[in-house]
């Protein structure tokens, strides 16, 4: 018998083959030219616009929308990319509803913001589809910079440094560059291999050498890099995944949500990715939602997302929560995992209801689970890193670490939200600071 949603256990091919393409297509279809013009018309071209302030990369949004409205989306793209070289990805994955679009005065006035994210995608797609890279390098400086981590922070840093005439070597532990853009974002947010295409486009600036399969602490040492290069930027992200710290966590069927998401992104055929019948996701952030929604899209019968605090404390935005709910994901809040039940493989998870301050209530319940995804946060990994602040690398100013000549940005650095757009901003700003310090010194 063919596998269906009802088939117990973890299996692939629960859906008719044709459903996969539909389920994993673009979450938001791109705007066509007419839609873009209609959407652009709604922008009021505010003075010192609140949307710019709300954007971590401070893109001049009213200007780029006016450029779209006047028939020059290529100029609009340049406005965007000047501030945010990954404007294409950010247009797809930014939680705009809590950033620019939340600040839009038309959100205030009518509850319907200008579609800033989708307009940004329209502009950047137009330029990228034309194969145009609008930036060129300054005269070569002869300076060499090592960037560790080819995620949004590292690539943004590398691009900005290359633009200023420096030569950059980017090291990444994985097989492909892109970081979380390539491995850590739901497939329906970035279909058609966009992350890889964006990296290829970004590298057109020249002067950036990408070395994959190079992990810091595993043949690649910070001290040596410091000696070999004029400056080092750490954009290593958060490589570790937090554990539940429960007995039986090694049972079959328990996985890190980030691995499941990466599998989906790297699968040549998502239909071949196995998924449980009864899936439980533990966590309340974007990663938890991405895993839960995609489990549902793969044909899981029951997907339950369990978060220990209330909905208002979830890191996933209200939009993401609604997306999960409308995809058929059940969201349970105020419950903490207490036990993993199963003989070899997980069969059930026991939770205990907790108060707002996480005080146990003594009331427990069990959820059937043949697959459990842990998404309770990631952590910095590595030895010999610069001084930490809390659990991340401490930085001052534009990413300066406790070690002279070493900068850091993105998720691995303290401060700022763990967002693609924030990582891009930090990488870019660190690059400017590196450039300033290298050119002043020279």
């Amino acid at each position: 018998m063919k596998d269906t949603a009802l088939t117990p256990g973890i299996t692939a091919g629960r859906l008719p083959p044709e459903d996969y393409a539909e389920n994993f297509s673009d979450l938001h279809a791109p705007l066509d030219r007419h839609e873009a013009l209609v959407a652009a018309d709604r922008c009021y071209f505010c003075h010192d616009a609140p949307c710019i302030t709300a954007c971590p990369t401070a893109i001049d949004i009213p200007l780029f929308i006016r450029q779209i409205a006047t028939g020059t989306p290529e100029a609009a793209a340049r406005t965007i990319l000047t501030q945010n070289i990954m404007g294409g990805m950010c247009a797809r994955v930014c939680p705009t509803e809590t950033l620019c679009e939340e600040a839009c005065v038309r959100e205030v006035a009518e509850g319907k913001p200008v579609l800033i994210g989708q307009l940004q995608r329209y502009a950047t797609d137009t330029l990228m589809e034309a194969g145009v890279h609008p930036f060129t390098r300054a005269a070569l400086t002869g300076k060499r910079i090592a960037v560790i981590g080819a995620g949004p922070a590292g690539l943004a840093c590398a691009h900005r440094l290359a633009m200023h005439g420096h030569d950059v070597t980017v090291f990444d532990a994985r097989k492909k560059p892109g970081g979380l853009n390539e491995y850590g974002i739901a497939s329906y947010k970035t279909p058609n291999d966009f992350a890889a295409r964006e990296v290829a486009w970004l590298l057109k600036i020249g002067g950036i050498d990408i070395q994959t399969g190079q992990r810091l602490g595993d043949g690649l040492e910070l001290l040596q890099l410091k000696a070999d290069f004029d400056a080092v930027f750490l954009g290593i992200g958060l490589g570790g995944v937090n554990a539940l710290n429960l007995e039986g966590e090694d049972k079959d069927g328990l996985r890190d949500a980030v691995d499941f998401i990466a599998d989906l992104r790297q699968a040549s055929d998502v239909a071949a990715v196995p998924v449980g019948r009864d899936v439980v996701v533990i966590g309340g952030g974007m990663t938890a939602v991405d895993a839960a929604v995609q489990a549902k899209l793969l044909g899981a019968l029951n997907v339950t997302l369990v978060y220990r605090r209330g909905r208002d404390r979830m890191n996933a935005s209200p939009f993401e929560q609604d997306l999960a709910a409308s995809s058929g994901v059940r969201i349970i809040t105020g419950a903490t995992p207490r036990g993993i039940i199963g003989n070899g493989a997980v069969r059930e998870i026991e939770f205990e209801y907790t108060d707002d301050d996480l005080t146990p209530t003594g009331q427990t319940f069990r959820l059937a689970a043949d697959q459990v995804f842990k998404a309770i946060g990631q952590s910095l990994q590595g030895e010999g890193l610069p001084k930490l602040e809390g659990r991340k690398i401490a930085v001052t100013g534009a990413g300066r670490t406790s070690v002279d000549g070493v900068w850091a940005g993105g998720d691995c650095a303290a401060g700022g939200d763990d967002l693609t757009v924030t990582a891009v901003a930090e990488g870019r700003d660190a690059a400017m600071d590196i450039h300033a310090s290298l050119t002043n010194a020279g």
């Binding site: 209609v38 003075h47 010192d48 005065v105 006035a109």
Partner: protein
């Protein structure tokens, strides 16, 4: 509900909304649809002399400018008068008038400036049973190159002469349609009146080039790589038309001359505005071309409601109501002092008022770090630009200062008395008030 029945120079129609002589009124099919939709009258597309009809271009005839969301704000055309045989038009007009006896049907005419040509066309038109004629002295493109249309309308002597011939050779009411492509609209209006015309209608279209094709380097609409100026109409021309209507309504010589108002009328509100400035009825074209004939339903219901709210029972009560309040600048009260007031509850914090005032006006709006915008009364000259650029209606208003209070900008006490420039001390020609 208010009675919208209209009597314009003796021509009765169930409402004051006529369709102007233009493409929508070129043939029986369209006009029947217009009357079925509820239009009170139609000025048939301009007829020329008997014989081979004019020809139109076979490329685009219209150009347009747009507002937000491609809302059509202005339309430009290079279409000529009717390109169908005179006989066909006359037969159709006759049939339509027979079937819609309660509607106004006006024949628009344009023939060369000689008495015989006008006598002949009038003779033939009278046979249709139409209610009146409109002399097209306005069309600014094509026909004007042949000495007709605006080429006549720009020479008051010709206007008067032709009006005179028409009154001499016909008993039909004569409306003279004026071109705005002239420096003083009162002159042709006076000439029409002196020639015996019963009314004027205005404005016809304005000489215009709507846009240039930046690939072809040619004006649009573009015919095989070339463009000619056309006639501009639609909502964008309304302010120009309103002023010209008011000029005629205010002029001592023409104050009693009936006016049929034309120019960008799109809603009941536009129609009411034209009528308050002296138009006895209105003619519509671009709005119908943009949205179809159905818009007349909104015009009828809107005007009725407004008249009810104002306690008016006849459209005649609207006509000219705003004319006494239309004055010259020198008659404005310089003792009137207003200040902009921003309603913080309505403000959406876009900052456009700030940008406009700070960059281009009087630096009279402050902006706080948390985007609260407030008027600085000591700087505000009440120019109204903030009101005009604010996207939220009634968020910013102009509030008059009470007499006896002190204007913080000038330090002067606001006076209750009216005083204008003619008596102002700064005016070298001021006459002392006695």
């Amino acid at each position: 509900m208010a009675d919208l029945t209209s009597d314009f120079i003796g021509i009765k129609s169930p409402n004051p909304f006529w369709l102007a002589s233009a493409p929508p009124t070129d043939k029986e099919y369209n006009v029947r649809r217009a009357f079925d939709a509820g239009w009170g009258g139609v000025v048939w597309k301009t007829l020329g002399e008997a014989g081979p009809p004019v020809v139109n271009v076979n490329g685009p005839r219209y150009g347009a400018i747009y507002g937000a969301d491609r809302r059509l704000l202005g339309l430009n055309n290079i279409e000529l008068i009717t390109d169908r045989p005179l006989e066909v038009n006359l037969e159709e007009m006759k049939r339509v008038k027979r079937d819609y006896p309660d509607r106004a049907l006006i024949a628009s005419l344009m023939v060369p400036v000689n008495e015989e040509a006008w006598r002949e066309i009038l003779r033939r038109v009278e046979d249709t049973g139409c209610d009146g004629v409109e002399l097209n002295f306005g069309c600014p493109h094509g026909m004007s190159e042949r000495g007709m249309g605006s080429a006549v309308g720009q020479v008051p002597e010709y206007v008067g002469q032709v009006a005179h011939w028409c009154k001499k050779h016909s008993d039909l009411p004569v409306i003279v349609k004026l071109t705005p492509n002239i420096s003083d609209i009162r002159k042709p209006a006076q000439a029409a009146m002196e020639g015996g015309a019963d009314a004027v209608s205005l404005i016809n279209t304005i000489n215009s080039i709507t846009s240039v094709d930046l690939d072809l380097f040619a004006p649009q609409p573009t015919i095989d790589g070339k463009g000619a100026h056309g006639g501009y109409c639609g909502p964008a021309v309304k302010p120009i038309a309103l002023n010209m209507v008011a000029e005629i309504a205010r002029d001592q010589a023409t104050r009693d001359l009936p006016i049929s108002g034309i120019g960008g009328i799109t809603t009941w509100r536009d129609a009411a505005e034209f009528m308050t400035l002296g138009a006895g009825n209105v003619q519509v074209c671009t709005a119908a071309m943009t949205y179809g004939f159905k818009i007349v339903e909104e015009m009828i219901s809107g005007l009725s409601q407004w008249m009810d709210e104002k306690g008016m029972t006849s459209t005649a009560e609207i006509v000219g109501r705003a004319v006494p309040n239309t004055v010259n600048w020198k008659d404005l009260n310089l003792n009137y002092v207003a200040k902009a007031v921003i309603n913080q509850d309505e403000c959406i914090k876009c900052g456009r008022c700030y940008a406009a005032c700070e960059d281009t006006s009087h630096q009279a709006i402050s902006m706080s770090p948390d985007r609260v915008f407030e008027v600085i009364d000591a700087e505000c000259v009440a120019c109204n630009l903030c009101v005009n650029v604010c996207p939220v209606e009634n968020c910013i208003t102009m509030e008059a200062m009470a007499a006896g209070t002190t204007d913080p900008r000038t330090g002067k006490v606001v006076e209750a008395d009216y005083a204008n420039w003619t008596t102002h001390p700064n005016n070298p020609g001021a006459c002392a008030a006695e």
